[in-house]
């Protein structure tokens, strides 16, 4: 079963959270950001081309215009493939681990899997980020030998930056799965 709810990101952009329950101990939470807007794309392209035309008017060198076209095309491809993240998803499988996937606008997907033995907890942390204090969801990792200490912190949803109401939904869903760890028999 899947349900989708609308929220806002930290900067005010509309985002959507989709929750799917695959089984009793497996849940997928996906946060989708806004797609590349036509108006921002045209604004950026016009700015670059106007600047290039101004340079051409000053220097009478037509290479400036071709260079501007190339820069726009290559810049757009690089932006779509490496920068613009459309969807970030979290797949929590109770006995196995947590998988974090980022899907870029060009279709590229980058995935990280963390096994359950290394996961200590999923918490909402507050930290200072660029002159603001933001809430962000993060996975606390533990060393298998030292279950009391936190060895690493993996922040999630870094590019869509949901606000606290969305984070609380994701947190509750994850905690329901993680609590089953304690009641289920441990197998090392």
């Amino acid at each position: 079963m899947a349900e989708e709810r609308r929220f806002r990101s930290a900067s005010g952009a509309p985002i959507a959270l989709r929750r799917r329950q695959h089984s009793a101990s497996c849940r997928e939470l996906a946060v989708r950001g806004p797609r590349l807007q036509l108006r921002s794309l045209s604004a950026a392209t016009s700015a670059v081309w106007l600047a290039a035309y101004g340079l051409f008017a000053l220097s009478e060198n037509s290479m400036v215009l071709s260079a501007a076209i190339l820069i726009t095309l290559i810049g757009l491809i690089i932006y779509l493939h490496f920068v613009k993240i459309d969807q970030e998803s979290l797949l929590v499988i109770g006995s196995l681990g947590i998988q974090v996937t980022s899907s870029y606008a060009s279709g590229k997907e980058s995935t990280t899997f963390i096994e359950m033995g290394r996961v200590k907890d999923v918490v909402i942390n507050e930290a200072i980020h660029m002159q603001k204090v933001i809430y962000y969801l993060c996975i606390l990792l533990q060393d298998p030998e030292d279950p009391q200490g936190v060895s690493e912190v993996v922040p999630l949803f870094q590019s869509s930056k949901p606000r606290l109401d969305c984070l609380i939904e994701v947190y509750k869903s994850c905690q329901e799965i993680l609590e089953q760890r304690k009641t289920a028999p441990q197998s090392s």
Binding site: K120, D121, V123, I124, N125, A127, I128, H129, M130, Y136, C138, L140, G149, V150, S151, E152, V153, V154, P155, Q158, I168, Y171, K172, Q175
Partner: protein, 126 residues
């Protein structure tokens, strides 16, 4: 012993500093404005170049302006990134001792782990 009250010694220090700073300022004005020929005719030849009379204040003011930006930048650089454990805990919290719980007493001050804080805030008790 360390009170901020006015004392005779402090009044004397203050007055000596006041006179000294006026003397330094008049000396600076003399050095900056009086032509070299007149100072040489008096026999005072060992002065630094007059270039420094303008350069040093400019250096100072530019340093103050850069200092604002530098301080801002240093602050931003020493803020812990989002993926560091310093946002969660630190050495004092790791080594803290767990005091025993006593009945009817105020619980001892301690650093509560973030998992516990999260459960208290975000998971409603049924």
């Amino acid at each position: 012993e360390n009170s901020p009250a006015p004392l005779p010694e402090r009044a004397i220090y203050g007055f000596a500093l006041f006179l000294g700073s006026w003397f330094g300022f008049i000396l600076y004005l003399i050095w900056a404005y009086i032509p070299e020929a007149w100072l040489f005719s008096l026999g005072l030849t060992y002065w630094p170049q007059k270039y420094w009379a303008v350069a040093l204040p400019v250096y100072l003011l530019v340093a103050v302006g850069i200092g604002y930006i530098l301080l801002f930048g240093i602050n931003m650089m020493s803020t812990a990134p989002l993926n560091s454990t310093h946002t969660i805990t630190d050495n004092y919290a790791k080594k803290q001792q767990q005091k025993k719980f006593q009945e009817e007493a105020i619980p001892a001050l301690r650093d509560i782990p973030i998992s516990e804080v999260n459960r208290m805030f975000f998971l409603p008790e049924k």
